[in-house]
């Protein structure tokens, strides 16, 4: 009787799974090979030959390991991405938007920088609070094991989301032009986007990024930061 368990264990030793999961995979593959070998012996093939054929059926063991790992970890990677990026990112977005609403409800006026048609309006109390929200996003991402890149992306997520919304104005403008038949001057749209982009994207993005960097500095080189699924 062959010790299939030992044969497979030897070949799948470096399989990077949890101990129980790895034991189960090894036992399952060993059982499959045992059944394959037995069927061959029943067909009249010598045991030695059947063992060799059964083992060769696995093909490249390194490739088998890679495929198993990929299949087993796929859901895990999705969960990780959700916890490390989407949860902190959306939380930062919600917090910053809620705070902006509070600032506006309180009747605080934006500070106008420069004058004339190119005036840039900045909500100073909002901008002052954004590093805190950026730091919260980066901290939550770090707690979930996010890499440095993921932490920073989670902290600037509100600015990225706003940029997406700004960029949507072009296709919407094109669609409106098609529906209404009125010509829209995209030069004006671009100038408006550029002007408002400073107040709504660049300045908030920089403030959030400062928070993200500060959180990284304060948290130091956490071991979890090296566990990079994404970013």
């Amino acid at each position: 009787m062959r010790d299939w368990q030992a044969l497979v264990e030897q070949r799948l030793a470096a399989l990077a799974l949890g101990p129980q999961e790895k034991t189960e995979v090894i036992a399952e593959v060993a059982a499959h090979l045992e059944d394959t070998c037995e069927a061959m012996v029943k067909q009249g093939i010598t045991e030695e030959e059947a063992v060799q054929r059964a083992l060769s059926q696995a093909g490249n063991w390194r490739e088998l390991k890679r495929k198993i790992l990929l299949a087993k970890k796929r859901g895990h990677i999705m969960q990780k991405r959700f916890r490390q990026l989407w949860v902190p990112g959306f939380l930062t977005l919600i917090l910053s938007m809620l705070f902006l609403t509070v600032v506006q409800r309180l009747g605080l006026r934006p500070r106008i920088v420069s004058s004339g048609p190119d005036a840039i309006s900045l909500y100073m109390p909002w901008l002052a609070a954004l590093p805190l929200f950026g730091a919260i996003g980066a901290y939550i991402s770090s707690r979930a094991g996010g890499s440095r890149g993921t932490m920073l992306f989670a902290s600037v997520f509100p600015a990225v989301a706003l940029m997406g919304a700004f960029l949507l104005m072009f296709p919407i403008g094109l669609a409106l032009e098609g529906v209404t038949g009125r010509h829209i001057d995209f030069g004006i749209v671009a100038a408006t986007l550029l002007r408002d982009g400073i107040g709504w994207l660049v300045a908030p993005g920089a403030a959030l990024l400062v928070g993200g960097f500060l959180a990284q500095l304060l948290l130091g080189a956490r071991p979890s930061s090296r566990d990079a699924a994404i970013g």
């Binding site: 059982a31 499959h32 059944d35 490249n60 495929k67 198993i68 796929r74």
Partner: protein
């Protein structure tokens, strides 16, 4: 001879279909698929288990260790309600493709 690329596309359908009749362990699944397709579809270790683990992750099949009549423990897979639900559109898609190919064949031989 069916090309490997086409076989890969049908692998999910083959596994889900064979599990529709009842729970099976990996070796038996591969054997039945080979037998029922008269050797056209053949699963190796490297193609079967990653696929099964992927289907399990998605919740389409569930695996559990069971002791057979011979006293051996084998991990048996069964189709989950979600897997059963997913099998229907996959099967319809393939049937549609086969119908389309048959139509194409008829046109080219008309």
């Amino acid at each position: 001879m069916i090309a490997p690329g086409i076989k890969r596309g049908t692998a999910e359908l083959a596994v889900l279909s064979v599990l529709e009749d009842g729970p099976l362990h990996g070796y038996e699944m591969a054997r039945r698929i080979e037998e029922q397709t008269q050797g056209a579809l053949r699963f190796t270790l490297a193609s079967l288990y990653p696929l099964l683990y992927g289907l399990e992750k998605r919740g389409w099949v569930s695996g559990a260790w069971e002791t057979g009549q011979t006293g051996r423990r084998r991990r048996c897979y069964r189709l989950t309600p979600l897997g059963r639900k997913k099998l229907k559109p996959i099967r319809e898609e393939w049937e549609e493709l086969f119908r389309a190919l048959r139509r194409l064949h008829k046109v080219s031989h008309a």
